[in-house]
């Protein structure tokens, strides 16, 4: 890869959890101390090339949003570094870091929850570029109109409030707001999840068009495998705070390497002509308060070996451009 636009290495986020009375008592009696720390993201390495779309999939609680929020500068990592165009953000002076953070914007799932209901669309979209000095205030209205046209909204509606729009249109407003500060990189966190299928298709098409027109790079977070398969160049699969597989999208979907990736792809609902017998993997996702030792997937893995419960497999390049964290790759 040429110099990536964004690279994270060893990125981790732990959340401290206050112990309740019983737990504090148990701890005094010698119970595991670590239970008060929630490992949301653990040691993630990921480099994204300029113009690339990297899809991030995994089941709820696996750490996708936490990773995305760290990348977007909304959450401070507990460990590890984030490099923007080759420079470690921690090495930048505050002004430089601020500038880099503006270049990375986030689009959220629920536009209603992320748009201030008391602001008019013109202010929602126009405020940040004015505050950050990207657009003089007297040109704000024209900049807003331009942004609205870019995302397929009628600028005639800029005096309206968010609740006067449909779900799909509100998501367009959320996208326009993110684009207004001229970012290079969008973290899209479940940005089409709340939309009906027919509207979802329109917004996916919008993301694809914007990528071309504005030369954007995306970290595209979704629990929907079909969406990620359609839009991403590469796909990363997370489980319990870690990336367990990372590969070019067509190859990953054609032949997943990691047993968890395989299970996830097998069980994703697809429109089929035949009735299916569901043959699910057993068990639940373990708690990130107490992640299993060794391979995090071993309690549910149909291929688990004795080694899997003791030794954690690293994410390794198992074939050109294909990364997987599974001991099975050693025995081949």
């Amino acid at each position: 890869m040429t110099r990536p636009i964004l690279a994270v290495s060893g990125l981790s986020k732990r959340f401290e959890r206050k112990l309740d009375v019983v737990e504090r008592f148990a701890r005094r009696l010698g119970a595991s101390v670590d239970d008060s720390v929630l490992h949301a993201v653990s040691g993630v390495d990921l480099a994204v090339a300029e113009g690339e779309v990297v899809g991030l999939v995994g089941e709820s609680g696996c750490g996708k949003s936490t990773l995305g929020r760290m990348v977007a500068g909304l959450l401070t990592p507990s460990d590890g570094s984030i490099q923007w165009r080759g420079t470690d953000l921690r090495d930048l002076p505050p002004a430089g870091r601020h500038e880099a953070n503006l270049k990375i914007q986030m689009v959220f799932q629920d536009p209603m929850a992320s748009l201030n209901p008391r602001l008019r669309v013109a202010d929602i979209i126009g405020e940040a570029p004015v505050v950050h000095g990207l657009v003089p205030r007297r040109e704000a209205a024209e900049a807003v109109a331009e942004m609205m046209r870019t995302v397929g909204l009628d600028p005639g509606y800029m005096r309206r409030y968010p609740h006067q729009f449909s779900g799909g249109q509100r998501q367009r407003i959320g996208i326009a707001r993110a684009l207004a500060v001229k970012p290079d990189f969008l973290v899209c966190d479940e940005s089409v999840a709340a939309l009906d299928v027919s509207i979802q298709a329109q917004i996916i098409n919008l993301f694809m068009r914007l990528r071309e027109e504005l030369r954007l790079t995306y970290l595209f977070i979704s629990h929907d495998l079909g969406v990620v398969q359609h839009i991403s160049d590469r796909t990363a699969i997370m489980y319990l705070g870690r990336i367990v597989e990372l590969a070019p999208t067509p190859e990953l979907f054609a032949a997943p390497n990691h047993p968890y990736a395989r299970a996830l792809l097998d069980e994703a609902p697809r429109v089929t002509l035949e009735k299916r017998r569901f043959a699910p993997i057993r068990g639940e996702i373990p708690s990130p308060l107490n992640p299993p030792a060794g391979c995090p997937f071993h309690p549910r893995c149909p291929h688990a070996m004795p080694r899997c419960s003791q030794e954690r497999p690293d994410l390794r390049e198992v074939a050109p451009a294909r990364w997987s964290a599974c001991h099975l790759n050693d025995t081949l």
């Binding site: 449909s166 009906d196 298709a201 609902p269 429109v271 569901f278 699910p280």
Partner: protein, 327 residues
């Protein structure tokens, strides 16, 4: 053919609102046979949930059933009294909702709730009720059901809670289960587990299932037949494979075409223009007109939905040429 277990005839459910009468369900008819799985599919606001609530007599004011019949085993539930409905609900017709906490009481243990549910409809002793509860938990794949009985709902994960809700639905071996988006909030692997249990149950016990969802993929894998709703009406219905293979209504076809995995990777998705309509503001005739590429003057008259087999409500349906899963 024997009488269907459930026959919904020209159901009309209206809500009186300040803005006008919302015809949330506007002339819905379908049959469900014993042991059959029918998927009721549509986008949000199309009237799926209200259809389910109407069947069970659970529509609250300002809503009311303005017309039609709901024949369950030959008996009209629309005209049945509340006492009769209560006897049928829970015992012969069970419900599962997207949020299991609609069924579960947060302050009672699972055991208390399940035992009470058994005793409400059956004259058995507590020990027998407890045994049945434990067995029901086991049947939905809950490990060590004996210990889990003592737990409270908040001690379970979302997927486990939904299993408990399903176990309660199964307690009386109902003839019909009405499920409203029960796996929508769950993760893929957990959803697959629940679909597996449900599929096994219908096969083993002959329970009929009405599965309400916005997710065509789930229905295609689970259901025998499908009914597609748009703006309060069924616009296409038929055996699931026929509808998926050769959708005839432009809306059904548009929905299928919008599914990302049915498009070539990376190219713009085929999408339906416009947005989901407000039922307060529908055109005269076919509700899909403003979004339909085939609309013409004929469409200002509402097309009928013929009975039986694969049927569609459209003046200019697509040809039957199979398009398969290929795209």
């Amino acid at each position: 053919m024997t009488q269907p277990l459930l026959r919904v005839e020209n159901l009309q459910t209206h809500f009186a609102t300040r803005a006008g009468t919302v015809k949330a369900v506007d002339g819905v008819s379908f049959d469900l046979r014993r042991g059959e799985i029918l998927g009721l599919v549509g986008e949000s606001g199309s009237g799926k949930s209200v259809t389910g609530q109407s069947i069970l007599g659970l529509v609250d004011p300002p809503g009311r059933i303005a017309g039609g019949r709901v024949l369950f085993d030959g008996e009209d539930l629309v005209t049945a009294g509340e006492k009769r409905l209560r006897a049928i609900r829970g015992r012969r017709i069970a419900m599962i909702f997207q949020d299991p906490m609609m069924t579960l009481n947060p302050v009672l243990s699972v055991e208390t709730q399940m035992v009470e549910a058994v005793l409400a409809h059956d004259k058995v002793g507590r020990a027998e009720a407890r045994r049945r509860s434990r067995d029901a938990l086991g049947r939905v794949g809950i490990a060590s059901p004996e210990e889990r009985l003592a737990a409270y709902p908040h001690q379970f994960s979302g997927g486990m809670r939904q299993r408990v809700a399903i176990a309660i639905a199964l307690l009386h071996s109902p003839d019909l289960i009405l499920a409203d988006e029960p796996t929508t909030a769950l993760d893929v692997t957990i959803q697959a587990q629940i679909l597996f249990e449900v599929q096994t149950l219908c096969r083993d016990t002959g329970t009929a299932l009405l599965w309400v969802t916005h997710d065509l993929a789930v229905v295609s894998a689970l259901a025998d037949r499908v009914a597609v709703m748009y703006a309060g009406r069924i616009v296409e219905t038929g055996p699931i494979a026929d509808v998926i293979q050769a959708p005839r209504h432009p809306y059904t076809r548009g929905l299928l075409d919008s599914v990302p995995s049915r498009n070539r990777r990376g190219v713009p998705l085929r999408s339906i223009p416009g947005m989901t309509p407000s039922v307060l503001d529908l055109p005269k005739g076919c509700a899909f007109q403003p979004r339909c590429g085939r609309a013409d003057a004929a469409c200002a008259v509402m097309p009928e939905l013929p009975e039986n087999g694969h049927a569609w409500r459209c003046w200019h349906p697509h040809d039957a040429d199979a398009r398969g899963a290929a795209a």
